[in-house]
């Protein structure tokens, strides 16, 4: 009896101590939630991204002592790419820290769609780096969404521009057949609108081919491709769907250099499982490629030499790890921009939103941060939540990615009217009044 009472009392004291301790620390810290996934069918691609983000925040804390002295408090929550789990993680973490979550990056278009409804009410901005709703580029309607560096319509346009250049001009696309093998989810369906618009403009035949999530069953799709013999196949997959698609393409003998993936289907976990079968596969680049840059020198010095990095050192130059670094960097720089206006203290989501909307990264600043060669200068504004819309194409040669094209910029002549129309439709459905960007800036 005595021992049991003593044990219970001891446990209570320890628990209280843990709680008090954790509460005491979190006074001058900026909380950032991490909605990532390290398990499930999309884990091969989710893990390097999560490592990149976590490492960048740890680097900022170790190298700079935080953002102007405010340390970053980062907590991961595994969503498994499931929308309801993503919403649950968001609800659990949105109010943590002294001022709540700074911003959220769910790494899933499906979860982004769900959080787009909740973010304006909770006043927490969503940074959807290279994913999310394409029309959320229009900041006058989508005040809280930031599809930084690229949307899916930009991606599809960049790939088509490269194909047109290869063929010798847009008019040479007339009569060609372009198929889209896509993940049957909001992510996969996003580019269809742009591809249909371009098909009408230039006269090529566009065939969408859905693949049921998670995408391990693709034999029927690729047999269809073998019958129809399209000239080009665009791959809009994620997770195991990508490696399966490349293996199936090798099995039916579809030439891999006629396959073009988007920036989410162009990373090492997608091509390595297919071995030699992936040679020649092309993918769009979200501006950056694989490789080590100046920021990696800092990562080695401050984290990996002390054994504190989340990944293995060889993995730190991979495409998705670098993308995680960029996501972390854009978030940190947004908070820094906001701190210039609101002070060097933990900020609320609303203040960080202002920071993202006024983010202006020049080439000099990117060089300072160590991201020279990974990102081009970007400037976010009220009307343009994308910041920049350029990309290149890279090709896998069996061991590494090689950049095979110049910079393309997505064509606003085609895109802007589509964005405005889609944003207006959303505003009408939701009965929102768009902000007047001219007045705000």
């Amino acid at each position: 009896m005595q021992f049991r009472k003593a044990a219970l009392l001891g446990a209570a004291i320890v628990a209280a101590g843990v709680l008090a301790g954790s509460m005491a620390q979190a006074q001058n810290e900026q909380f950032i939630p991490g909605l990532i996934y390290r398990t499930g069918a999309y884990a091969p691609n989710g893990i390097p991204f999560a490592n990149g983000i976590g490492d960048y925040y740890a680097l900022v804390n170790a190298r700079d002592g935080g953002i102007n002295g405010v340390k970053i408090l980062y907590e991961e929550c595994d969503t498994g790419y499931a929308t309801d789990r993503g919403v649950e993680c968001y609800e659990r973490l949105k109010a943590k820290g002294p001022t709540g979550a700074a911003f959220v990056s769910p790494l899933s278009t499906g979860i982004t769609f769900a959080l787009t409804e909740k973010a304006p009410i909770d006043k927490i901005p969503i940074i959807s780096l290279g994913y999310g709703r394409s029309e959320s580029r229009d900041g006058s309607v989508f005040t809280w969404n930031f599809p930084l560096v690229g949307t899916y319509w930009s991606a599809a346009d960049i790939v088509l521009q490269h194909i047109a250049k290869k063929e010798g001009g847009w008019d040479k696309l007339k009569g060609k057949k372009i198929a889209l093998v896509y993940h049957d989810s909001p992510y996969g369906k996003e580019p269809i609108a742009l591809l249909e618009a371009r098909a009408k403009l230039h006269g090529f035949e566009f065939t969408p081919m859905p693949v049921t999530a998670p995408g391990v069953e693709q034999k029927a799709t690729w047999l269809q491709i073998r019958q129809q013999k399209p000239d080009y196949v665009l791959l809009w997959g994620w997770g195991v769907m990508n490696s399966t698609a490349i293996k199936e393409a090798a099995a039916v003998g579809f030439s891999r250099d006629k396959m073009y993936g988007v920036w989410w289907s162009g990373a090492e976990p997608d091509v390595r499982p297919a071995g030699d079968g992936a040679k020649g596969y092309n993918a769009a680049m979200l501006q950056h490629g694989a490789g080590q840059f100046d920021v990696h020198t800092d990562l080695k010095k401050y984290l990996y030499d002390k054994g504190q990095g989340l990944a293995k050192w060889d993995e730190t130059g991979e495409v998705l790890y670098n993308r995680g670094l960029i996501n972390g960097m854009l978030g940190v720089e947004s908070i820094r921009t906001a701190q210039k206006k609101f002070g060097n203290k933990p900020l609320t989501g609303e203040q960080v939103r202002w920071g993202i909307e006024n983010l202006d990264l020049s080439a000099a600043r990117l060089k300072e941060l160590g991201f020279d060669g990974m990102l081009r200068p970007l400037k976010v504004s009220c009307g343009d939540h994308e910041g920049t819309r350029a990309g290149r194409i890279q090709q896998w040669d069996g061991t590494k990615w090689n950049v095979i094209s110049d910079w393309y910029e997505s064509d606003d002549k085609v895109l802007k009217p589509m964005v405005e129309q889609a944003a207006k439709k959303y505003a009408d459905e939701k009965k929102l009044t768009a902000r007047d960007c001219a007045k705000e800036s």
């Binding site: 320890v14 628990a15 390290r38 409804e117 989810s185 369906k189």
Partner: protein, 355 residues
Amino acid sequence: MFYREAGQFKTDYASDQQIFPILQDRLFVLAVLVVAFIVVPIFGTAYLFSEIFIPFLILSLAAIGLNILVGYCGQVSLGTGGFMAVGAYASYNFWLRLPEANNLVVVFLFGGVMAAAVGILFGLPSLRIKGFYLAVATLASQFFLDWTFARVKWFTNYTPSGSVAVGELSVFGWRIDTPVERYLLILAFVAVGALVAKNLVRGHIGRSWMAIRDMDIAAEIIGLRPLRTKLTAFAVSSFFIGVAGAMWGFLRLGSWEPAAFDINRSFQILFMVIIGGLGSLLGSFLGAAFIVLLPLLLNQLPAWLGIQMSTALLSNLEFMVFGALIVFFLIVEPHGLARLWSLAKEKLRLWPFPH
């Protein structure tokens, strides 16, 4: 000691036939309702409402629906996710195309009626097939409905992404925005739904379902019409599941794609019914609590205890422990958690004087 009925005499048929004949039961249920309707809204946090109570209540309504079909009528069905999708998309289209009727009660009931109609359609094979074969036929309904809502663009209002979103919800003029308001609306639906279900299974309809479940040939011989009985089971069950699906889409997610109602949802609700207890309304609630809340508890327990773990380890551990607990409970009590509860009640009648 607590549960004795000694001294509780019934003097008329009405009190003898009431749902909770024992006074202690009535008091307990009344206390639960008071806590649920009054205490929780005052003291609860937003996370508690939106992530704990709302999913638990909505899925217990779906589990009640499936329990009526599988537990009371014995027709195995794997089409629950599809019927939830029918409820959700029917309600969405009603809400979208008739904005004057922006009253969630009407919208959800419409979704339920549409789901009941579809349920009757897919229940027709049950007149010729039984058991696992019927499970396969209802599995076909799940995939067919999945395909319909993904491919027939009219249902999703021609959105390019296939995702639909709702907003500006109201009930009889009262706006439903905050988690508390959503919680109270769902609680009202679930309370009324559970009452209706309880009375249905106690009445002649429920007894005809149970007769079909126990031995359908004998039931047919004594004069119960199998066509009518099985189709009413499918209709009522799909109505409940459709209303639950509409609530899941409108009040839990706000914006959803067809994958929210896929085969995994069907399995999830079937497991709730099996673990909770077939043929028991309390079992639906217990099963829903087990399947919805236990993974969240397992996920957050190490953090409460101050144990640091990588998220990957945490996720995998959650799956393993959850699976082990399912196996454990099914070995300990194959009839489900509701049976464990009724055993406990039996023991409580004698406690503290076991013999």
